[in-house]
């Protein structure tokens, strides 16, 4: 292992909560016995968040700093807890999608898809082929939009403001398309057990074709603006290294896992919807640093564009909604279904008792596991490094807190 620090028993957690006593400021001159004046320093405990510009939501980090270096750190979450898992037990299967959207609010389609797949598995429903293709297409549009948000905030974390606005410009087009199809920009409720709500509209298709004409050039521009910048590379290379062992031990999935050298992608290894009919590559990097994660995500965006093109050209004819009872009552049973969300493996473990609402719905948040790793990574980093390292892990607090 390149990093000799103990990955599991990292130097511990800060006890309980923020100290109520005022923290003494550092640098106190004391006189040691030998008579030589020596500068004694004390560690400084700071509260990063929940309202900090670069914690990507309401994450609170308790950091103990020695100068600019982090000695210990603890992540405090739960500020966005809405009890999605509990609420799902009181809703019909069709209505759980609205809750799932509010989990990882940056990639709603994939959350809904995970739930729909689990419900279909436990209810043994066939989905029309066109619906599967539409699910893949919308998933990839949403993945591209979500990665663009990550790209922009990565730029913001590294101090470059422009990239965010360039990314948002492209994302706006994608959200327009999703809005055209589903009626909503972020809280879609588009994928339901049995299929999808709407077929793709002609206007959305036209918008998508115009978008695809420009996006390749824009992707080059994005790579050149951020990844090609020497300052950015200096900030990202060799920072926040996650080894393969660490990634497996902490349950990391998705692009973060692939950047550490383990090629596992739910789309390829546990194919769902119509992914077994698509051609795409899975980028893998072995360095495991922030720059590797950046490169993997950028390449994933290109692969998403490739899949969207395939969907657009090869969309099969047929119905977009399968035959499913209006009040869906799957037989009693249990099922686990996972999708590759932009943040990793998003799984839904569903327990049905034969009624019209789930008995238990477990939402596996990939970002929670990424945050665990982020917390363990903190000791020894500078504040600026911590900001980019956590940013490169790409978590959404809505998903962590559910």
């Amino acid at each position: 292992m390149s990093d000799p620090r103990d990955i599991v028993k990292h130097s511990g957690w800060i006890a309980a909560d923020v100290p109520t006593e005022p923290v003494t400021l550092p640098a106190v001159l004391v006189e040691p016995p030998c008579g030589v004046k020596e500068l004694m320093t004390e560690n400084l405990v700071v509260n990063m968040g929940p309202q900090h510009p670069s914690t990507h939501g309401v994450l609170r980090l308790l950091l103990e700093l020695d100068g600019e270096q982090i000695v210990r750190g603890e992540a405090v979450v739960g500020y966005l807890h809405r009890g999605i898992e509990k609420l799902a037990e009181h809703r019909r299967y069709n209505a759980v999608g609205t809750l799932m959207d509010r989990g990882d609010y940056v990639s709603g389609i994939m959350n809904e898809l995970a739930f729909a797949l689990a419900a279909e598995k436990v209810g043994e429903i066939e989905v029309p082929r066109r619906a599967s293709w539409l699910r893949v297409m919308m998933s990839e549009i949403n993945r591209l939009a979500s990665h663009l948000v990550w790209y922009g905030t990565m730029g913001l974390d590294a101090g470059a403001m422009g990239q965010f606005l360039y990314a948002v410009r492209d994302r706006e087009n994608l959200l327009d398309i999703l809005e055209d199809v589903s009626g909503q920009r972020m809280m879609f409720n588009y994928v339901r057990p049995g299929g999808v709500v709407n077929d793709i509209t002609t206007t959305a298709e036209a918008k998508l074709r115009t978008f695809l004409k420009t996006i390749d050039g824009y992707m080059e521009e994005h790579s050149a603006l951020l990844g090609g910048n020497e300052i950015f590379q200096g900030r990202m290379r060799g920072v926040g290294i996650v080894t393969k062992e660490m990634a497996v031990a902490f349950g990391i999935t998705g692009a973060n896992l692939r950047a550490s050298g383990l090629s596992f992608d739910v789309r390829r290894d546990r194919p769902y919807a119509a992914y077994d009919e698509m051609h795409f590559d899975i980028p893998v990097a072995s360095e495991g640093d922030c720059y590797a994660r950046y490169l993997v995500r950028m390449e994933e965006m290109r692969q998403s564009i490739r899949i969207i093109r395939q969907c657009l050209d090869g969309m099969p004819e047929g119905d977009h909604m399968g035959k499913i009872a209006k009040v869906f009552r799957p037989p009693a049973g249990e099922a686990y279904a996972a999708v590759e969300s932009p943040r990793g493996e998003l799984g839904v473990y569903l327990v049905s008792d034969g009624t019209d609402s789930p008995y238990r719905m477990r939402y596996r948040p990939p970002a929670l596991y990424a945050l665990q790793l982020g917390e363990a990574m903190l000791p020894g980093l500078l504040i600026a490094d911590a900001v980019v390292s956590l940013g490169s892990l790409d978590f959404v607090l809505g998903e962590i807190d559910r």
């Binding site: 990955i7 599991v8 511990g12 957690w13 309980a16 603890e74 979450v77 739960g78 807890h81 009890g83 898992e85 509990k86 609420l87 009181h90 598995k121 436990v122 043994e124 497996v248 031990a249 902490f250 349950g251 383990l262 596992f264 290894d269 546990r270 049973g333 249990e334 099922a335 686990y336 493996e345 799984g347 473990y349 327990v351 238990r360 477990r362 596996r364 929670l368 596991y369 945050l371 665990q372 363990a376 807190d401 559910r402």
Partner: protein, 153 residues
């Protein structure tokens, strides 16, 4: 996808864990063990030849009589997945497996607070999502307001 049941039975038997197997429709293999042998079982599965060293998820299910804690583990070497279930009585102790699978750190905290279990052997046994002192939200006995109640409030 599906693990080799004989290998798992052998591994668990060698570790001295009593386990029963069932194949659940739409889910796959489920190994049911006693809560006392969770650490032994997870450790043995991690150390076996087809190392189940990746914790996909850890969560609880309130069955109405007890709390099933589910350890969903995956082996990248074998490309197999396994659900290990341990039935914990209400208000009993959930033994931490964080030193075997560090991924369990936060998931265990969440499971304990949501189902009112006590965490043992965890380095940071605070609540994760809920404020300290709140009710175990995901237990079936905890009621939430229904839509009618909210309307008539």
């Amino acid at each position: 996808m599906q693990p080799d049941p004989t290998l798992i039975a052998k591994t668990l038997a060698e570790a001295g864990v009593e386990a029963s197997f069932e194949e659940v429709r739409a889910l796959g293999y489920v190994v049911r063990i006693a809560p006392e042998s969770v650490r032994a079982a997870i450790g043995a599965l991690k150390d076996c030849s087809r190392s189940f060293d990746f914790l996909v998820d850890l969560f609880g299910i309130d069955t109405g009589e007890a709390i099933d804690v589910v350890y969903h583990v995956r082996s990248f070497g074998d490309d197999a997945e396994l659900h290990v279930k341990a039935e914990h009585a209400y208000d009993s102790v959930l033994t931490s497996v964080w030193d075997i699978l560090p991924a369990a750190l936060m998931a265990e905290r969440e499971c304990a607070e949501m189902f009112g279990l006590k965490l043992a052997g965890h380095p940071n046994p605070k609540h994760l999502l809920l404020t300290e002192g709140s009710q175990p939200l995901l237990r079936k006995s905890i009621e939430i307001r229904t839509a009618e109640e909210v309307r008539n409030r």
